[in-house]
């Protein structure tokens, strides 16, 4: 899409509050991508809301000069769903971590995908709980032994966010890397523009508890193929995924669920009719 210059610069979407994140943390790149995306879309700051749970990544709303809600751990999606359905005029983004989104928040993730409300959900996936000092998350590899609650590794299958999103019915599915803020911004723009529930997994290194993830930027590579709108094809691709390809994987065609409050047809008096005792 084209960039119009009358719009706000990316920086103008920042609140000025300095992030508490560790220098090197991928979340800085994500923050920058979001501001670029908002700028390119020319959205007014007051018509955007960013909703998050709890975690390092979930601190992001405070760093943006838009409406924000830093909620409780795991509940960003239903909160955003309530907001978006009540206020369909707003652009609502949801942002958080892999623990927040896939562990404690996993049920809402599935059900948000199913419900297909017009939200854009950005997960900063670092395969670890950063904020609580380095425990395994659902996306952690089974043999990562440094997790303090899982000495010897979790020994269990990692959670596959894109697969679950697809299986649950998300309408837009993409993977990005925080090391490419511009590419990520472009994907976020598409995600916001695509109707319905859009899910963007962003590989975002935790340099403190997973320093080896600094290497991710050398591992990621663009997806070899174009996005598909066929779930079966998307599924096949994901099952051969090396977990590092980036780009838009799936573009669904489902209409978003918009139980938009209609203009009031009746007054309350009309609702009360049913209670009145018939006077015979």
């Amino acid at each position: 899409m084209d960039v119009e210059t009358t719009q706000l610069a990316p920086k103008q979407y920042k609140s000025g509050l300095k992030p508490v994140w560790c220098p090197g943390c991928g979340d800085f790149g994500v923050l920058s991508s979001i501001t670029r995306a908002l700028s390119v879309l020319g959205l007014r700051r007051e018509e955007v809301a960013v909703i998050s749970g709890i975690g390092c990544s979930s601190r992001i709303p405070a760093y943006l000069d838009v409406y924000g809600f830093h909620a409780v751990h795991g509940r960003a999606l239903p909160l955003a769903t309530g907001l978006k359905i009540a206020r369909p005029d707003l652009t609502v983004l949801v942002a958080g971590g892999d623990g927040d989104g896939f562990s404690i928040g996993g049920n809402h993730f599935m059900h948000a995908c199913r419900r297909n409300t017009d939200l854009t959900y950005i997960v900063m996936d670092n395969q670890v709980y950063g904020m609580t000092k380095g425990q395994a998350s659902p996306t952690t590899d089974p043999d990562w032994e440094a997790g303090k609650l899982t000495p010897g590794g979790t020994g269990i299958n990692p959670f596959q966010p894109l697969v679950i999103a697809l299986a649950s019915g998300a309408n837009f599915i993409a993977r990005c890397s925080s090391s490419d803020p511009n590419g990520t911004a472009q994907t976020i723009v598409e995600a916001i523009q695509h109707p319905g529930f859009s899910f963007v997994q962003i590989l975002s290194p935790c340099v403190t508890f997973r320093p080896e993830q600094r290497q991710w930027k050398n591992l990621v590579h663009p997806a070899p193929v174009e996005p598909t709108d066929d779930p079966a094809r998307a599924a096949r691709r994901l099952l051969t995924d090396d977990a590092y390809f980036t780009g838009v994987l799936y573009l669904g065609q489902r209409a978003p669920n918009e139980p938009v409050p209609k203009q009031s047809r009746d007054g309350i008096a009309a609702l009360e009719e049913e209670f009145k005792v018939a006077s015979t």
């Binding site: 809600f69 830093h70 309530g82 809402h108 139980p259 209609k262 005792v277």
Partner: protein, 578 residues
């Protein structure tokens, strides 16, 4: 048939699944309402989902009633299956009339043992004589005659009740009804009801409504336009009513995946400026407390209606109990002051819920409304419930110059709220402790300031006179809350000079506590009876914790299961040695 008239008549209809117990009760209630009487109907079921034994308790009266009567006057058994299950719930006596069908077989021993007036009417046989006839319609006719309902009104009510089943059903039904009206002539004179004081058409509107419907209607009056919920007995009807009503007034109800989602959805909607509510029962409330705490900290108004049932855990979902008081007041972690209110009657579910919305919106905090299974699922015929036009509401910002401090310390401790869409009002609502600006802070100063603010706004607010209903005077006070109010009120009304000797204080606003107001209301009181439906005396403990109770204090608390009847209270007070 000459008969002595009475103020109130209480009828039990019992039978097994498919016998039409509930529809019989409903039509009877409807006919009585048309005749200008007041009344109520409660229901009780066996454990089966379908086909189980069922019991309808209908009480009709010439004045408003809010609880079961002391005694049940009539038991009409469509059959005797599992009747013993219900006996602990009913109050039959030697003065009761037992009507049954000879085809139903031997009258059970427990019923025989009452030594009551037993009458048999071959209802099934009479029904069989009518093509498509049903026993319950014959029974309805019998009951209408017993109560003294004008046949024309009974016919009208029955016609409407059967309408959705088609004209054939109406025809057969009316024939059965007629047979019943006739058959009742064989019965000995039962005291029928005194004619109503003011008939329904005398300009004062009457409603037929359950507490759950009333709460839902009050929510809409209060401005609720977004609801989210997850079904749970006995709260589901609130959600169901809103599901179809809200779209008609520009709102919406969303069925959520669980209670964690329903409560956070409404926080989101309310953050977006749309007043929002959910309804649940104890187990669901337990799942919501973390996020209710978020609404406290982030200062987002929401309303949670908890229709209480027997606890703990899954407990007894179909029975009433007042045992979520503790969790409603104290169930949030940290210091999390918020509003807790309780309706004092079925009809009051409307006003109290509406007021709860108003207070939550005005004070930017969650309000929990504690209804219960009795209030929620009892249908009453009552005067049109009160609803009030509140002039004020949520304090919102209309324009911002310079920096906007979402959590600014103000005189009222309520900070004007920016609603998304307002330019310059951007802020981040936060459950982390924060500064006035809304920036996360670990400073003890900010912490204390915001704790003071969140408590202060609740404490300073002028709640007016609605915090409690106070009746009567004298040196003995009965202090209660919620659904037990009805039985106490009746106990006092019926007992000669008690209204001048005993005051009733029924608290509607449970939190924040209003110690000065209660102190004023207790002026001159020497002894207090605290009445509630719980095993552990939660209300009594709460009163001790937050109020100074003068004189001798006695706690009357009885766990859920059976509904409180006025005479139990009368006995309790009567036996309190002076």
């Amino acid at each position: 048939m000459t008969r002595q008239l009475r103020q109130s008549v209480s009828i039990i209809i019992a039978g097994s699944g498919g016998s039409g117990v509930m529809s019989t009760g409903t039509m009877l209630l409807d006919a009585a309402a048309r005749a200008g009487w007041y009344g109520l109907m409660t229901r009780s079921y066996g454990p089966q989902i379908r086909g189980g034994e069922a019991m309808a308790m209908i009480r009709l009266a010439a004045r408003p009633v809010e609880c079961p009567a002391d005694r049940d006057d009539v038991l009409l058994a469509l059959d005797w299956r599992n009747i013993e299950r219900f006996l602990p719930e009913v109050a039959l006596s030697a003065d009761s009339l037992i009507v049954s069908d000879p085809k139903a077989g031997d009258v059970p021993e427990a019923i025989e043992a009452l030594n009551a007036n037993q009458q048999q009417i071959p209802m099934t046989r009479l029904a069989k004589e009518i093509p498509g006839g049903r026993t319950n319609m014959v029974a309805l006719g019998v009951l209408a005659t017993l109560v003294g309902i004008p046949p024309a009104l009974m016919v009208a009510a029955a016609t409407q009740g059967l309408q959705k089943r088609g004209s054939k059903a109406v025809e057969a039904g009316l024939a059965g009804l007629g047979a019943g009206l006739d058959a009742a002539a064989q019965l000995p004179g039962l005291a029928g009801l005194t004619p109503p004081v003011a008939p329904a058409d005398a300009g004062n509107e009457r409603w037929s409504i359950t507490g759950n419907e009333a709460a839902a209607c009050g929510a809409v009056h209060g401005g609720i336009r977004y609801a989210a919920g997850y079904p749970i007995t006995p709260a589901t009807e609130i959600l169901e009513w809103l599901a179809s009503a809200l779209p008609r007034v520009g709102g919406v109800l969303v069925q959520a995946e669980d209670e964690l989602a329903s409560v956070t959805q409404i926080i989101g909607a309310s953050f977006g400026g749309v007043p929002a509510l959910t309804a649940t029962s104890g187990p669901g409330l337990a799942l919501m407390t973390e996020s209710i705490g978020l609404a406290v900290a982030a200062e987002v108004p929401i309303v949670v209606v908890d229709v209480m049932r027997g606890g703990p855990s899954t407990g007894i979902p179909t029975r009433s109990e007042q045992t979520d008081l503790n969790i409603a007041i104290h169930g949030l972690h940290g210091d999390a002051p918020h509003l807790v209110l309780a309706p004092l009657s079925v009809a009051d579910c409307l006003f109290t819920t509406q007021w709860a919305v108003h207070l939550a919106e005005s004070l930017q905090t969650p309000a929990i409304v504690l209804s219960d299974q009795f209030l929620g699922q009892t249908r009453v015929i009552a005067d049109r419930p009160v609803s009030v036009e509140f002039k004020t509401g949520r304090n919102t910002v209309s324009g911002v110059n310079g920096e906007y401090n979402r959590y600014a310390l103000t005189d009222s401790s309520v900070s004007p709220m920016a609603i998304p869409g307002l330019a310059g009002g951007q802020y981040t609502a936060d459950g982390l402790e924060h500064s006035e600006r809304g920036v996360p802070s670990t400073s003890a100063c900010d912490h204390t300031a915001q704790l003071d603010k969140r408590l202060g706004k609740l404490e300073q607010y002028d709640y007016g006179d609605d915090w409690a209903e106070i009746e009567g005077e004298g040196s003995t006070a009965i202090v209660t809350w919620g659904s037990t109010t009805g039985a106490i009120r009746e106990a006092l009304e019926q007992s000669g000079d008690w209204q001048s000797k005993i005051r009733l204080i029924a608290i509607r606003l449970l939190a924040p506590a209003r110690p000065q107001h209660l102190a004023a209301a207790l002026e001159g009181v020497e002894r207090i009876l605290v009445v509630e439906q719980s095993h552990s005396g939660q209300f009594h403990e709460y009163l001790r914790a937050r109020y100074d109770l003068p004189g001798e204090v006695k706690s009357f608390s009885q766990s859920g299961g059976a509904t409180l009847r006025p005479d139990t209270l009368r006995d309790e007070i009567g036996s309190w040695s002076r």
